[in-house]
C-alpha cells in the first residue's frame, strides 16, 4: 500500500509538471505574444519589449516556467490587469460561490441519479427503465445553456415562479439566504449530471447482479431487498467514488456555462470575462487551479478506491 501511494503520487507530480508547462505554453500562443494581447493593437515595439523584459517573457521558457512555478508555490497566482486585483483575491471572492453551485448541483443529481440507476437495473427492460433511459439520453444530449434557457423561458419569463438570474449578491451568506434564485441554476446543473450517475449506476449494478456473491447471498435466503441494497448497492457505490474524482473537469466546465447563462458571479463567469478581455494571468491562474484540483481529485479517487475495495492489490 505504501509503495502504491508513493508510486501513484509520483505519477501525479509528473502529470502536474506536464500540465502546468502546457498551460504556461498556452499564453505564448497569443499572436505577437501575451504582452501584445494585453497592450492592444497600438502597442509600440519599444513598449512591448519593455513589458516583455519586465515580466520575464524574454527569458528562455524553462526559466520562465521555474519562476512561475516558484510564484505559484508561494501562493502568487498572478494579477488581473483588467480588474486590478490579484488572481488570489479574485479566487477567494468567487470560488465559494462556485463551490455552492457545484456542491448543491452534484448532491441533488446524486440524490436522484444513484437510487434511480439501481431501480433501473433491478427492473431492467421494463417500461419505467426505458422511460428513465430516455431521460438520461436527453440529459446527455442537451446543451447546458439550452436547458438553462428553456427553464428561464418557462419558469421566469412565462410564469415568474423563479427569477431568471442567479443570486446577484457577492456575499456567500446572502446567496444562501436567497434560495429561490438558486433553484434554476442548481436544477439545470443537476439534470445534466443526473444522466451521468444514473447510467453509470445502472450498468454497475447490472454487472454486480451476475456476480457469484449475489448468488451466494440468494442461496443463503437473503431477501431481494437485502441482496440489492445490502450487497450490490454497496459494491456499486465504490465505483461512484472513482467516477466522482474523475468528473472534476466536467463539473468545472458545467459550472462555467451555468454561470454564464444565469449571470451567477462565480469563477466560471470571471473566467469567461477574462477570456474575452485577454486577461491572461487570470486565465492561467484559474486553469492551473482547476487542473490541480483534477489531478488531486484523481489521486484521492484512486487511493480511496484502493482502500475501499479489498480486491484491489497493488
Amino acid at each position: 500500500m505504501v509503495g502504491f501511494l508513493i508510486r501513484r503520487t509520483g505519477q501525479a507530480i509528473f502529470v502536474l509538471i506536464l500540465v502546468t508547462a502546457a498551460t504556461l505554453g498556452l499564453v505564448h500562443l497569443f499572436p505577437g505574444g501575451p504582452v501584445h494581447a494585453l497592450l492592444g493593437q497600438r502597442a509600440t515595439p519599444a513598449l512591448i519589449s519593455y513589458y516583455n523584459h519586465l515580466y520575464g517573457f524574454d527569458q528562455p521558457f524553462y526559466l520562465q516556467y521555474l519562476k512561475w512555478v516558484g510564484q505559484l508555490l508561494h501562493g502568487n497566482l498572478g494579477f488581473s490587469y483588467k480588474l486590478n486585483v490579484s488572481v488570489a483575491t479574485l479566487i477567494a471572492q468567487d470560488l465559494p460561490k462556485t463551490i455552492i453551485l457545484v456542491f448543491l448541483g452534484t448532491f441533488l443529481s446524486l440524490l436522484f441519479g444513484v437510487p434511480l440507476g439501481v431501480y433501473q437495473a433491478v427492473h431492467r427492460n421494463s417500461a419505467s427503465d426505458y422511460t428513465l433511459t430516455g431521460i438520461s439520453f436527453l440529459g446527455y444530449s442537451t446543451p447546458t445553456f439550452f436547458l438553462g434557457l428553456v427553464l428561464v423561458d418557462w419558469f421566469a419569463v412565462d410564469t415568474h415562479i423563479f427569477p431568471a438570474f442567479g443570486p446577484q449578491s457577492s456575499s456567500v451568506w446572502s446567496i444562501l439566504g436567497d434560495p429561490r434564485a438558486l433553484v434554476l441554476p442548481v436544477v439545470t446543473y443537476a439534470f445534466l449530471l443526473y444522466a451521468l450517475w444514473s447510467r453509470y449506476m445502472r450498468s454497475s449494478v447490472l454487472d454486480n447482479l451476475v456476480q457469484d456473491y449475489v448468488r451466494t447471498a440468494r442461496a443463503k435466503g437473503a431477501s431481494e431487498r437485502r441482496v440489492v441494497w445490502g450487497h450490490v448497492f454497496r459494491n456499486s457505490l465504490v465505483s461512484i467514488v472513482t467516477l466522482l474524482g474523475l468528473s472534476i473537469p466536467s463539473l468545472v466546465s458545467g459550472a462555467i456555462l451555468i454561470e454564464v447563462v444565469f449571470n451567477y458571479s462565480g469563477m466560471g463567469l470571471a473566467f469567461y470575462q477574462a477570456a474575452l478581455d485577454n486577461d491572461f494571468e487570470v486565465l492561467l491562474g484559474f486553469t492551473v487551479l482547476a487542473t490541480v484540483a483534477t489531478v488531486v481529485g484523481n489521486l484521492l479517487a484512486d487511493v480511496g478506491y484502493a482502500m475501499l475495495d479489498p480486491r484491489v492489490r497493488y
Binding site: 498556452l26 444530449s141 446543451p143 445553456f145 428553456v150 454564464v260 477570456a275
Partner: protein, 304 residues
C-alpha cells in the same frame, strides 16, 4: 414463385447443416444492430438531418448572406416557414446552413481525434514498458486539463474558422480514445496471431496497423460515434459563448446565442427552440447509434 418458395424452404431447413459462406464481422454486427429499434431510428434521423442540411438549401432557397431588415424578427408565415431572426435571415434556411457547420465540424473532429487517438493508443500499448508509461502520463495530463477552459482560451487566441475549431475540439477528444485503445491493445498484444507476426520477423508497425487496430475497430467505431455527438455539443457551446464561427456563417449554438437576447422581450420561440431541438435530436441519434454499436460489437466478441 413456387421455385422461390422451395428454395427458401430448403434454405431454412438446411441452413444450419449446409456450409454457409463465413460472414464478416461487420455483417454480424449489423444483424445485432438492426434488431435495435432505437438504433435504426437514430440512424434514420442522422440520414434525415444530413439530407435536410445539405440537400435542403437547394429545395428551400433562402438568402443567407445578405441581411434583410424589413423582415426583422418576422413571425412564421407561408414565405418564412419558421420566421426570421433579428437580421432578417430566414430561420429555417439558417437552420440548414448552421447545421452544415455543426455536422461538418462534429464529423471531422470525431474523425481526426479517433484516428490520432487509436494510433497513439495502439503504439503505446504495443510498445509497453517505459515508452508506454511516458505516453500514458501525457494522456493523463491531457485528461486532467479542464478541457472547456482550454478550449475557450484557444478560441480567444485563434478567432477560429471551422477548420481551426475542428482541431481545437479534436485536441481534447483523442486522449480518451487513446486510453481505451491502449487497453484493448494490451489484451490483443499477447494473442497468437500478433505474436506470430513477431516470430516471422514482421516489423512492429505491421502488427499495429494490420492486426491490432483492425481488431480494436469495434471500440474505435463506437468511440467515433459518441465523439460526433460530443463535438457537436462543444461547437454549440463555443457558438453560445460567441467564440464560434464568424458571421455570416453560423452554427446551431450561435443561432441560440442570437435568440438569447429576445427571450425576455416576447414570444420569439422560433429563435430558441428549432436550433436547440436540432442539437438535442442529433446528439440523441448519435448516442442511440453508438450504444447499439457497442452492443453489436460486444456480441461479436461473445460469439467468437
Amino acid at each position: 414463385m413456387f421455385e422461390a418458395q422451395l428454395i427458401a424452404a430448403s434454405e431454412s431447413e438446411l441452413g444450419l447443416t449446409l456450409s454457409t459462406p463465413p460472414r464478416g464481422m461487420f455483417r454480424r454486427a449489423w444483424e445485432v444492430f438492426a434488431e435495435n429499434k432505437l438504433a435504426l431510428i437514430g440512424l434514420g434521423f442522422i440520414i434525415f438531418i444530413l439530407l435536410f442540411c445539405f440537400v435542403g438549401p437547394h429545395l428551400y432557397v433562402t438568402n443567407q448572406t445578405n441581411t434583410d431588415l424589413e423582415n426583422y424578427l418576422c413571425r412564421p408565415s407561408a414565405s418564412h416557414l419558421l420566421g426570421c431572426d433579428d437580421l432578417g435571415y430566414d430561420e429555417l434556411g439558417r437552420l440548414m446552413v448552421g447545421g452544415q457547420t455543426s455536422l461538418e465540424v462534429g464529423l471531422a473532429a470525431a474523425l481526426v481525434s479517433v484516428l490520432v487517438g487509436s494510433l497513439y493508443g495502439a503504439i503505446s500499448g504495443f510498445a509497453g514498458g517505459i515508452v508506454d508509461s511516458i505516453m500514458m502520463r501525457i494522456v493523463d495530463a491531457g485528461l486532467s486539463l479542464p478541457s472547456l477552459m482550454v478550449i475557450i482560451i484557444l478560441s480567444v487566441i485563434f478567432h477560429p474558422t471551422p477548420e481551426v475549431i475542428i482541431f481545437i475540439i479534436a485536441i481534447f477528444y483523442w486522449f480518451g480514445v487513446a486510453r481505451l485503445v491502449r487497453g484493448e491493445t494490451l489484451a490483443l498484444r499477447s494473442r497468437e496471431y500478433v505474436q506470430a507476426v513477431k516470430v516471422i520477423g514482421g516489423r512492429p508497425i505491421r502488427s499495429v496497423v494490420r492486426h491490432i487496430v483492425p481488431n480494436a475497430i469495434g471500440t474505435i467505431i463506437v468511440q467515433a460515434t459518441f465523439a460526433v455527438a460530443d463535438a457537436i455539443l462543444t461547437l454549440s457551446v463555443l457558438g453560445f459563448l460567441t467564440l464560434g464561427v464568424a458571421p455570416p456563417a453560423t452554427d446551431w449554438g450561435s443561432m441560440l446565442e442570437g435568440g438569447l437576447n429576445y427571450i425576455q422581450g416576447g414570444n420569439y420561440w422560433w429563435l430558441i427552440y428549432p436550433p436547440g431541438v436540432a442539437i438535442i435530436l442529433t446528439c440523441i441519434a448519435f448516442n442511440f447509434v453508438g450504444d447499439a454499436l457497442r452492443d453489436a460489437f460486444e456480441t461479436r466478441l461473445q460469439r467468437r
